[in-house]
């Protein structure tokens, strides 16, 4: 397969098209503007539709409409824009409509800055809207992974009848690096559940994002809970790097994860047994990767995030169950984690003994 040198947001957009996405609605916000820009050119060429909505709220509801009509649809935005879309994401989850939401994370809260960060961990993994729903949420560490996960996201969305979230930090969205793109998929026929009127089918479908009665709503919640439960058994994705003999284990995802990976190599060159657990799905979270660490060997877990205060650390704590002390190396505001900070912190812990 041929490699090309491509920008993060554009590679994600192109992959979505190859995965069968034929509808995109969005509203501009840095640092993800390259995605709608790319879609505006590329989607019409394959018979798809691009809409720049009048707002984030309009855009996400257009995705709801397209998904309800059986089209693979997506939207993308960045942190404050995702907050605006969160009501619509909840409706997508409530109505169980396959779709992809991409959040190219920037610094927050509020306006924050337009620079990359990992401040939306909680939002992306636990509460992307009201009502206590869940999504599978991917956090790619390289552009190749972002491409592969975008492809997979549509498969999972269709499989589960549920929105999927891809949450690359802004560095992954902006970076250019070599990638191999997947093949074009055949566009599936309009699914039987789609709300497209009678047509030739002799029946109409009704899609709604809530129950008509208390009993019906509880049934909807219970069925969704079963799905979420299945994810925790079957769909957890995590990379364990040199953890087999590690005494100092980093917990990091996305760009922080790849930076930690080179820190592991550097520390091992200096004779320090470092390792990395890098979640690729943060929902479902790889609790077992942390639970299974040997607490007689691992001296510290070092949680590395571009978010202050740390967020993923809450899940790491749940996995570790108090058996191993946790330290942090953090940055925010758009400042990238410095490899030297990670190394200094680890060396200081080694000295302490």
């Amino acid at each position: 397969m041929e490699q090309i040198f491509m920008k993060g947001c554009e590679a994600i957009a192109e992959t979505a098209i190859r995965a069968g996405c034929r509808f995109f609605a969005g509203y501009p916000i840095t640092p993800q503007n390259e995605m709608p820009e790319y879609m505006s050119r590329a989607l019409p060429r394959v018979g798809g539709t691009f809409v720049q909505g009048e707002s984030e709220v309009a855009s996400v509801n257009m995705v709801y409409g397209a998904a309800a009509a059986g089209t693979l649809a997506m939207t993308s935005s960045s942190s404050p824009g995702i907050s605006l879309k969160s009501e619509g994401i909840s409706h997508l989850a409530g109505a169980r409509l396959p779709s992809l939401i991409v959040n190219v994370m920037r610094a927050g809260p509020g306006m924050g800055t337009i620079q990359p960060a990992q401040n939306d961990y909680f939002q992306a993994s636990k509460a992307s809207g009201h009502g206590g729903f869940r999504t599978i949420t991917f956090v790619p560490g390289t552009l190749q992974e972002a491409v592969d996960l975008t492809y997979l996201a549509f498969e999972y969305a269709v499989r589960d009848h549920n929105p999927v979230i891809l949450a690359p930090d802004g560095f992954i969205g902006a970076i250019m690096e070599p990638v191999t793109l997947p093949d074009f998929k055949e566009i599936p026929e309009t699914p039987d559940w789609a709300a497209i009127g009678y047509g030739k089918r002799g029946h109409i479908n009704l899609i709604k994002s809530g129950g008509a009665t208390e009993a019906e709503q509880q049934e909807i919640n219970e069925s969704a809970a079963k799905l979420y439960e299945r994810w925790t058994r079957e769909d957890v994705m995590v990379e364990a790097y040199h953890t087999e003999d590690a005494e100092y284990v980093f917990a990091a995802y996305g760009t922080s994860g790849r930076i930690c990976k080179s820190a592991v190599d550097e520390l091992r060159d200096r004779g320090i047994k470092a390792g990395l657990i890098r979640p690729i799905t943060i929902s479902p979270f790889p609790y077992n990767a942390f639970k299974n660490l040997d607490d007689t060997r691992v001296k510290y877990i070092i949680d590395v995030e571009m978010a202050i205060p740390a967020q993923m650390i809450e899940d790491v704590k749940m996995g570790v169950e108090g058996k191993i002390p946790i330290e942090t190396v953090l940055s925010s505001g758009g400042n990238i984690i410095r490899t030297s900070d990670i190394i200094q912190k680890t060396e200081a812990l080694v000295k302490e003994g």
């Binding site: 560095f171 970076i175 690096e177 070599p178 760009t255 790849r258 820190a263 990238i336 410095r338 030297s340």
Partner: protein, 182 residues
């Protein structure tokens, strides 16, 4: 072997184009490479920079605290990033706009390229970045310069009317680089 390059200047000087072209050429040579842009909310006039990392191993951090090469297109960028060049590293300046009299470091190699003035002489101030790009590639020697030229002119081919000027700019940059190494 990992090398890091930072290119910096005003928004509008074609900083990103320099980094992207370098990335493209290095990629075509089969070397691992990342390009990471950094810019503020301003469309013009603010500071823009980008980092290009090249390595024979998979690239972890797409930025680098210590730089092998720094290319600066304006004075504020020199002041901001000078301290980050490694011992024995290289500083390439757009000497039309950058004054290096205040640089006290003796442990780095400095290459001055009068890029804006040369670009103006060739016919357009817009091609100053191509002169700097060519100078860098000629100094770095990671990719054969004829191959670089072919890749760059193809990438810049979207504006055919600028191709002759881009070619002249490229040659001028290479010449300066060669002269600076004599």
């Amino acid at each position: 072997m990992r090398t890091s390059l930072l290119v910096a200047g005003f928004g509008g000087q074609g900083i990103m184009m320099i980094g992207k072209l370098i990335g493209e050429c290095v990629f075509e040579e089969g070397i691992n490479v990342t390009f990471l842009p950094f810019y503020g909310p301003e469309q013009r006039g603010g500071t823009a920079s980008c980092t290009v990392i090249q390595s024979d191993k998979p690239i972890g951090s797409p930025v680098s605290e210590e730089l092998d090469v720094l290319c600066v297109m304006n004075q504020p960028s020199l002041e901001k990033f000078l301290g980050r060049i490694k011992q024995g590293g290289v500083l390439i300046t757009n000497s039309s706009l950058v004054d290096i009299h205040s640089v006290e470091r003796k442990d780095i190699k400095i290459i001055e390229v009068d890029a804006d003035r040369l670009a103006y002489q060739i016919g357009s101030k817009k091609i100053a970045n191509i002169i700097i790009f060519a100078a860098y590639m000629a100094i770095a020697k990671t990719v054969p310069i004829e191959k670089v030229k072919a890749i760059a002119l193809t990438k810049l081919g979207k504006k055919p009317e600028l191709v002759p000027m881009n070619r002249a700019a490229f040659d001028a940059g290479v010449q300066i680089a060669i002269a600076s190494q004599c």
